[in-house]
Symmetry: C4
Subunit: 277 residues, 4 copies
């Protein structure tokens, strides 16, 4: 298992091409946020925009549109009941995130099934939070596993893999990843990443980050990185590493690190590493 | 009567355990905010999240969801008409706060009765603002007094205890606390705390804090501290002391200390005291 | 005509009494904000809260509640259609502001008439913006002129006084003030104040403040100062002077001074002058 | 083709006249923002207010009012279904912007036709985003071409001019501008401006600005500059130059430059250049 280091950031976060436009940096589509958990998709969206995705559309329950826009006019919004528009928006996506605050009811499941059925071979898909729980519970299948990333915390990983938390280790996790054939980020106080070729350990992170929304923020960052960076496996690792790197820095002065403060710091830290060799 | 000092902060606010997750720091459920007083529960929620509670759910009148989320996507929200979901959310709570901006009408009373009847012996309950007025007016009873905290200002304490403001002193207050068997924070320019074993005096605080929302912020802090710290009596004292400590610092440069500025400063001050011996 | 100086600030903005509570600093009730002009009452509310009024309630069209609370949970809100609650809130007011963004239609006029008819001799009333236009157009009468402040810009003053802008000067203005018997703040690039006993000239202010909302902010400050300071004539002068004083300071670094930045600076500047002799 | 330099900023951004009021700096009316793209008009509005327009009214789909006001109480809002009020507001406008987030449906087209038919010879009109696409698709005509500015990106310019992106160059662009007789800002990594008399090249800008909302912000700045500065051709050039100038400065420390951070910096940069000779 490879231990991640700052090298992953300097490798992935390069200077942007001088001749480019917003489309160059990808179209991210984020799906989640029911009435109870709307804040989750808002936090994912902030992370995605501030990590540099070119265009971000959020498909969410309508009550979430106003507070999302009040915080982040940079996103576009779609009512998650508007299937026609959802189909249209998904078609042009570079990367799709589904799950933060999605909930577990019929409509949530329907949206997950739509996404799984429509994913093209050129699109990346990130499945987080209740998206993972639904996927496990309904025994769904992936269309393009190698272009899919699951971002479970340990309990969600147990639901997905059947491996009890106390038996989750490099070997059991890697074995199940081989069965899934998808990429997996197992979040814990020391997050691990399992890809088709390799597994990685993130040595950073701290308990000040143990608060609601930290995972939603990571999911948004992974999505933003996949939207714009070409080596997808490295992009995933870089997002995980940077999330904890910023969290560690903020924890020096904060007893609890609010997830939105991680997102706020993204443009600065990414610029710092893009300037480093 | 013991006079509180900085020692209460260094004792209570310890470094977080390295191996932990958001559940480690408790599930807080906050109930309040009708149409007129919605801002109160928003301020409590900010204080609760920023004092480090692991997961925070706010049960409030639906019109308050959007502005609350616009300020604080870190919380989950529940419509206070949705009884089924309220029951479910209350069941998993570590600590419950009811009262900020709750109002005095039938529905408010119904919510208070639900909370009182459902409180388990492992759950802590904080009753603030109109929750106290309703409790007094309807002569309600506590289910677990020793796990309950009242946070009245002097007029609310008069309503609850029957002691006229001008006769409120250490002896009369302590006598009524013995009858109640609950913990009481009597807020004034010099706040006092009455617990089952001891009473405390907070020597800090200043008139720049005399503005709407200061009490709602304290209630949110008490809730956040009870959610994560094990010695509950000390946790209550630490929340009171830190609230005034930050308020005194901010008053050096502010003629009026907006309650939300106290909450904004919480992660920094808590980190400062967690590093101190 | 007396030229105002910093002395008005050091005289009015004194240290707050150590033994006090939020009620000590007054209850302000602000009325205004229809669908089109809702931002006006939001800006008045920010100025009023941040200038130190103890409790602030905003009576406004319902669509304005969410954005107001998203910015300022410190206020209470009342739907301006809810007459029963309006009567109740007005009864306990120390000072009432009506006019910012009020509009000119039937309902706006009805609200103005309610306020004029209910004002008690202990309450101060500030009439701003469309409140002034309606008052002039409908030829309404004041209940307690000596406890009333009009805050017209030059065109509104023309409507109220009948004096064409080009003929507005100390003498014509003072003459009409004597007829009104109310206090008047005539806003222009050099604002003047006419009270029953004296008239004042504010030597400060600058063209970076010539932007929508500057007047709404002043109206909120006048209201906040009247709520908490005892010498009402001086309180009015101090609010006018401080508004321009902060505006001048901000204009050193800003081509346009957004009104909300004046309000944000209030707690700091008021503290500065409260410390000065 | 003239290469723009800082001289355009020092020439255009002069000290404001000492004797002035908000009307002196123009009345801007902004139209756009359907349910999906509401954020676009919010970003235009922030740029317009913060670049110093005296009074700004935003005509947009009603769901956008609350988040817009939560960010920017300085604007007035009009429901884009309220034709009577739209006519009234347009009548008093100094400059009108239509297009950011407008969308392409029937109602959007109707609004565009209203604006084109009502534009008076003293009013300036800026057409952006979907406004350009609709104009091209419906083969509409301008009422006052010399007082009109189009702000297309390269694909929109292709739609409007029929010139494929790869054939867009100074000569082809200028030729079509002569046919249009309107002013055109062709946005790309090096934006060009075509006016009736001259064409200009902006040497600034960077790929960190390639993100959703950058163009909406520029459109708002152009509108704000036209509202207050007398030499309209220079005002357009100055808005383009300053937008990239600030973007370059922010890119030194930010991997992605959020459009709202450009707007936030406007008052400071404009003041800096107003002080320079």
């Amino acid at each position: 298992m490879e231990i991640l280091s700052e090298a992953i950031l300097t490798n992935v976060i390069n200077k942007r091409p001088a001749i480019s436009h917003k489309g160059t940096f990808g179209r991210a589509v984020l799906i989640g946020g029911n009435q109870q958990y709307g804040g989750a998709i808002m936090m994912s969206a902030e992370a995605c925009v501030k990590s540099g995705a070119g265009l971000v559309t959020v498909i969410t329950q309508k009550d979430n549109h106003a507070p999302l826009h009040a915080r982040l006019p940079e996103v576009m919004v779609v009512d998650w009941e508007d299937e026609k528009l959802i189909f249209q928006v998904l078609e042009s996506a570079t990367v799709i995130l589904i799950g933060p605050g999605l909930g577990l009811d019929e409509h949530s499941l329907k949206l997950l099934k739509i996404v799984l059925s429509l994913q093209t071979k050129n699109q990346w898909l990130v499945i987080d939070g209740s998206g993972i729980s639904l996927f496990a519970q309904e025994a769904l299948s992936l269309t393009h596993p190698s272009h899919t990333v699951f971002t479970p915390h340990q309990m969600e990983w147990q639901r997905l893999s059947g491996i009890p938390i106390e038996q989750q280790n490099e070997q059991t996790n890697a074995t199940f990843q081989q069965k899934l054939q998808a990429n997996v980020i197992v979040k814990s106080h020391r997050t691990e990443i399992y890809t088709i070729k390799e597994s990685y350990h993130c040595p950073l992170g701290n308990p000040a980050m143990a608060t609601g929304g930290t995972g939603d923020t990571l999911a948004g960052m992974v999505t933003g990185f996949l939207a714009q960076f070409q080596n997808k496996s490295d992009a995933i690792c870089a997002a995980v590493y940077l999330h904890s790197y910023i969290g560690d820095f903020l924890a020096e002065d904060n007893y609890v690190v609010l997830p939105t403060t991680i997102s706020a710091a993204l443009p600065h830290y990414m610029q710092y590493f893009s300037n480093k060799d």
